[in-house]
């Protein structure tokens, strides 16, 4: 079984291999190293095996923004979950900055963060309360974390006055910006973005894209981004 994702990754590996820092020749520890990764799920009453990720290999260098393209159901989110230590590998190997995701799970968790397509929050809590929770989970002090959250959210176009209201009162796009701010708050060196701009308007998408590039440049972050191949919208009048 060959997935669209697998094909895309093969292309990505080929591109990398052609670059000066080839897979064999690289002396530096890659930000993300994936070798022959496979993941199956047992689905339904008959527990029929379904291959979600099939023999994927890739190598991402520090500081890269790496895109993974694939249609819905092609295994992009599964791949991100495998990198995030949320799923166990069936076979293969994944290393984040040289740390094995299974043997050194806690070390890996400290250097990664993820934004998923659905903004996973306690919707009754405010952005401030959700971000304070996130900061404590990552061992940060609440006060400096709050100041940093205000700065990041302001950069993404959300003012301080909105931080006290429940998230359920915010639009989908605003919630997604708060999710991005939450991920950036912990200064991850590997940021996993699973369709992060879904639901955002064009201007917000641009805000996020610019901020991600800024993050890469100022925080030495490596970014893995999943998305789907887009086609131009059909319009009856330009």
């Amino acid at each position: 079984m060959t997935t669209v994702l697998e094909q895309v990754n093969r292309q990505a590996v080929t591109d990398l291999a052609a670059s000066p820092a080839s897979i064999e020749g690289a002396a530096e520890v890659p930000a993300l190293l994936v070798e022959h990764l496979t993941k199956r799920f047992l689905v339904g009453r008959k527990r029929k095996p379904v291959i979600a990720v099939n023999d994927v290999s890739l190598r991402i260098r520090r500081g890269e923004i790496y895109g993974i393209l694939g249609a819905n159901g092609s295994g992009k989110s599964t791949l991100i979950r495998l990198f995030s230590t949320l799923l166990t590998l069936d076979s293969g190997r994944v290393e984040v900055f040289g740390h094995d995701v299974q043997r050194e799970e806690m070390t890996v968790k400290r250097v990664i963060n993820r934004v998923s397509v659905d903004a996973a929050f306690f919707k009754k809590l405010s952005p401030h309360e959700n971000l304070s929770y996130a900061a404590r989970l990552y061992g940060m002090d609440a006060r400096p974390a709050k100041a940093e959250a205000i700065r990041i959210l302001a950069r993404l176009g959300i003012g301080e006055s909105r931080l006290g209201r429940p998230l359920e009162q915010m639009s989908r796009g605003m919630q997604q910006k708060v999710a991005i701010a939450r991920a950036l708050l912990t200064s991850p060196t590997l940021l996993l973005l699973d369709e992060p701009t879904t639901g955002l308007d064009p201007r917000s998408k641009l805000d996020v894209q610019t901020f991600i590039e800024e993050m890469r440049d100022t925080h030495d972050a490596t970014i893995v981004l999943t998305t789907w191949p887009r086609t131009p919208p059909t319009v009856s009048r330009p």
């Binding site: 995030s84 230590t85 949320l86 968790k109 400290r110 996973a120 306690f122 929770y133 989970l137 061992g139």
Partner: protein
């Protein structure tokens, strides 16, 4: 930062988060408190209708302290289930936090929340029935509440794993465990009225010993030293 300090800070994240959720759901918290008071009063009034002060006290203690133990159990056992409903389970599991720190934070908040909740219900019932607690041994009651909390934390932590192992049925299993504990632990009646096999099961429930101990302390003023068997 040392591992212990990091895990303590992580545990506090769950305490603070649960406190914030309680604040945000204050309307439901108030409604639940009214329901708990009404339930405890309704059951205890059976004792008043029978004209038995002792039965009244037995039912009051059963209603109040089962309320406490079940709150602690529910809070801990539903930790995972709750996050699944909210959609935050993956985020929490991806964070660099050990599961014991998460469960410890949930347990600390559960006990604090349960104590406040129970204190309000106890105060209302004491005023309503003009309970005479002048002979009560509060140290005995306190010791058994502490022991009961620890025991129910253990059962709750074990039950919290069920929704992880059985995604569809785990929550339902937790509910069944709580129901069985209510039935066999002698909450409103002595376990001697249960069929023999149920009495055997009741010996495995920590609530059986907690309720016996609290009743002995509050109703008869028995010191904890006389109840080492139950401890």
């Amino acid at each position: 930062m040392s591992l212990m300090a990091r895990e303590m800070k992580a545990s506090f994240a769950f305490v603070e988060r649960n406190f914030n959720l309680t604040k945000r759901y204050w309307g439901w918290e108030f409604a639940w408190l009214i329901y708990s008071i009404a339930g405890a009063l309704a059951i205890s009034l059976i004792g008043r209708s029978e004209g038995s002060e002792r039965l009244l006290l037995v039912l009051v203690v059963g209603a109040i302290f089962w309320n406490f133990l079940s709150l602690v159990f529910e809070f801990i056992a539903e930790t995972v289930q709750w996050e699944r409903w909210e959609g935050t389970l993956e985020y929490t599991f991806m964070a660099p936090v050990r599961r014991y720190a998460q469960l410890m934070g949930s347990a600390i908040y559960a006990i604090g929340y349960g104590l406040v909740h129970t204190a309000v219900v106890l105060t209302v019932l004491a005023l309503f029935f003009q309970l005479d607690l002048s002979h009560a041994n509060f140290a005995t009651a306190g010791a058994f509440i502490l022991l009961g909390s620890l025991s129910f934390m253990g059962i709750g932590i074990a039950a919290a794993i069920l929704p992880l192992m059985y995604v569809e049925r785990g929550g339902q299993m937790v509910f069944v465990i709580q129901s069985v504990l209510l039935l066999v632990s002698g909450v409103y009646y002595p376990i001697s009225v249960l069929p023999g096999w149920m009495q055997a099961v009741s010996h495995f429930s920590p609530a059986t010993y907690v309720l016996d101990g609290v009743r002995a302390g509050l109703i008869e003023g028995t010191p904890v030293t006389a109840l080492f068997g139950d401890v």
